[in-house]
Amino acid sequence: MTVTVYVPRDTTALSLGADPVAARIEQAATERGVELKLVRNGSRGLFWLEPLVEVATPAGRVAYGPVTPEDVPALVEAGLFEGGQEHELALGLTEDIPYLKNQQRLTFSRIGITDPLSLDDYTGLRGFEGLKKALTLDGQGIIDEVKASGLRGRGGAAFPTAIKWQTVHDEPPGQKYIVCNADEGDSGTFADRLVMECDPYMLIEGMTIAGLAVGATQGYIYLRSEYPLAQKIFNEALRRAYAAGYLGENILGSGRHFDLEVRLGAGAYICGEETSLLDSLEGKRGMVRAKPPLPAIQGLFGRPTVVNNVLSLAAVPFILDQGGQTYADYGQGRSLGTLALQLAGNVKRGGLVELAFGTTLRTLMETFGGGTLSGRPLKAVQVGGPLGAYLPESQWDSPIDYEAFAAFGGVVGHGGVVMFDDSVDMGEQARFAMEFCTVESCGKCTPCRIGSVRGVEVIDRLRAGEDRDANLELLSELCETMVDGSLCAMGGMTPFPVQSVLKHFPDDLTRSRGGAPC
């Protein structure tokens, strides 16, 4: 009898040794004369358990993790190939692991279950049903469905997706583009990467539906160069989707046309900002453009363009397949549907947690995250990437939704949640926020370009114990100048983490370090 064993192959599983684990399992199977079907699936997003090995049993898939290559012989001895549970790494049925079971996986319903490149696996779990539905509708019909879902952009600014699509739709016919923002520059985020590595056809489907909705026949995915594996897997998925007729001049025999191509970025955080991204795609330096004109009216090569984050586009197949209202049944207020939260940093159980809007940060960090990896008390959490504020404990009970966060100056952004224990020096974190801006500013406006350099200097002086009151005031003013005077959110939000440190952790900033360099 053939035994089916799953060993994930996403970047994180590989970074923790999934390949040698797979090799050892194959070797053990050969030695024991076991007929093995080894599937290299995507990750379930339960990263603290990677490499997470699964074995198919009549009762369902059972899991083991985290498995090192050295664990394999003992696991096999303990009955791995029969799904035996008499081993300390045995986790029981995968679907029953509370971390997974307690999520609401609408977008990430397939990750880790399927072989990412298998079209059969994809269509076997409702893949391309959304596209088929879309092919029965006109552009407006598709947009109405997305409107009903309440979907807002998951890349940072949370702009309603349907309104953006409507604008492009309403422009006169002619060359229009769909651009997928896969620059995923925020530290603490990896959900875009998971989509591209673990369920690539979902993004292809979402972009194709967007193309049908607005009348665009060409799409580009702007992928950061830091994700070589995503590029490899996604390009292979594109090749197969073309071969099977899901892309090209006659999608599924409908006579409708959509082409898709991946373009690689080149290590510039600012190229995640949509206008800078468009300049970069056009082959220029990634300089931020002043708005208006909106990209929806004059975008790529001057043509109407939808720019959406990977997760916004990846939500679309579900919405078309199950209906916008089904999606909108999740969430609260004006934050509808689910959010892909990403638990990162000093966390015991890091990974992807897809939940309806409305959970509190504390529940997320404690119930799912299990507290810090170090076991020390949690001190601060940065939500929403390098431009997001550091939140102290007093803010952990607010529900995660766009409005609730905005109310206290927080940002949900792309859903990254980076946890820090009490060994963190918040002064150093404030300095890094400014330093990052000196490295990544596009250089177009002075408050951002020069202000961040000054910011680093002032923080260094403060930390050296110089002229405390004057430098604190200088830093506050500098932050205000950057917030008010910057063209884009790079300069405009870099002060957020700094101001949060000033407000909630001032001692870390001013405690004299005896002039020692940081």
Binding site: A266, F301, L343, A344, G345, N346, Q382, D421
Partner: protein
């Protein structure tokens, strides 16, 4: 925004081996010719050149400028804007150490200090034996399992200083044996 070249590697540009079928300018010309008709061809061309040669030599600038009808100053400005592109050869392997927040939260600052000491270089420099070039990177998307580094196209997670040393040791040995194997 600043651009990092690799000052220590300056002048290290090795001449192409005798058996190389194409000269460097020919390879550059070929990359330009095969890609220049795409819309927005600049980045694909720069990537193609760097993937092939390991860096973008000065000699590429006029060839690209000509092929894409841009000025040399423009081409140079574009290359220098992006951190990914290097204008001088790197060591045999590029090690990128993640400096971003999620990795900081689990010891990336100690790891970067260790990497610099252990290789005897600062960022953007190449070790004396020309084995490793050290670069900073701001997130590799492996943020739940940091500190993370990338060597070539491989990402490694939970990299302690000891694991870093073991990895460097392993890579050094494999490079030596590979080279030993190729030379009769």
């Amino acid at each position: 925004m600043y651009k990092h070249n690799n000052p220590s590697a300056e002048g290290l540009s090795t001449p192409p081996p005798d058996d190389q079928p194409q000269s460097q300018p020919e390879q550059i010309q070929q990359a330009v010719d095969s890609l220049k008709d795409q819309p927005g061809a600049m980045l694909p061309i720069l990537h193609a050149i760097q993937d092939r040669l390991g860096y973008i030599p000065d000699a590429a600038v006029p060839i690209i400028a000509e092929g894409l009808r841009r000025t040399r100053a423009e081409v140079h400005g574009i290359i220098s804007f992006y951190h990914h592109f290097r204008t001088h050869p790197a060591g045999r392997r590029v090690i990128q150490v993640c400096r971003a927040e999620a990795c900081q939260a689990v010891g990336a600052r100690a790891l970067e200090a260790h990497a610099k000491t252990s290789l005897g270089v600062d960022y953007h420099q190449t070790s004396a034996d020309n084995e490793f070039t050290l670069e900073p990177v701001y997130c590799l998307g492996n943020c739940a399992c940091g500190p993370s580094i990338r060597v070539g196209d491989d990402v490694h997670g939970r990299v302690t200083p000891a694991r870093f040393d073991a990895l460097v040791e392993e890579l050094t040995t494999s490079v030596v044996s590979l080279r030993g194997g190729m030379k009769p």
